[in-house]
Symmetry: C2
Subunit: 114 residues, 2 copies
DNA sequence: TTATCATATAACTATACACTTATATAAGTG
DNA sequence: CACTTATATAAGTGTATAGTTATATGATAA
């Protein structure tokens, strides 16, 4: 067992949380980039409330944090969170999604709202 | 990204599968020990159908395999499965449950049925 | 053969979950 | 100020999920 180890309860809770393609992708992106809600709406082509609700689940366990900048709210991974070492290990096993952001930039929609 | 990497679809599907405390514990135990259904019934103090259904989900994606020995069916992790490298990395982050089996042995129930 | 043990499966139930629509809040903009 | 933009939240809906009880299957034992 590695230094990122945690109890079974916590581990299964976190795996379930990341066991959703949208949330897993969000966290993978947020690990490297700050994003606001409207960008995720673009990336995942999903309704704004749906995106907000996923972000809330991530925020409720402290995995992501939000920062308001004017009318936008930027999300990022909370690397100080007690579970981050665990999450970090899992994210290493998952493909990069930088191309998704790059695509937004090319479309000019990366900062459509931000 | 590490050699255990897989696509997002697969990753989230597997994380969801392990995002259940019972299944996560099962796989962690089966990684090191063959077990039969009745042992899991003891360990998790859960009904036999419930245990069987969890094992079926794991078997359906090929994570565990079964081998009949007389009237018992022994399960073990299928280390040849394409997803095993991914699973292995996750299991490294999770505490050992050897004490649970040890407890069964002490009670004499480890091989109550097997 | 009948009985028993180990396991699987089917049918049902209650809860959790992801998503939708509608509405609220909060910050800019004209 | 009213209007728009960005986001959150509430309420409702359909489906997935984990568990239950009941039954089926398959092997061994009497």
């Amino acid at each position: 067992m590695v230094k990122a180890a945690i109890e079974m309860d916590k581990a299964s809770m976190l795996l379930k949380l990341l066991g959703d393609k949208t949330r897993l992708s969000m966290v993978k992106i947020l690990e490297k980039h700050e994003c606001c809600v409207c960008e995720f709406v673009e990336i995942f082509r999903m309704s704004q409330p749906s995106i907000s609700q996923h972000l809330r689940k991530l925020r409720d366990v402290g995995l992501v944090k939000e920062e308001r900048k004017g009318q936008w709210i930027f999300y990022s991974v909370n690397k100080g969170n007690e579970y981050y070492p665990f999450i970090e290990q899992i994210l290493m096993l998952v493909p990069d999604l930088d191309d998704k952001l790059k695509k937004l930039e090319e479309q000019g929609t990366r900062i459509s709202c931000c």
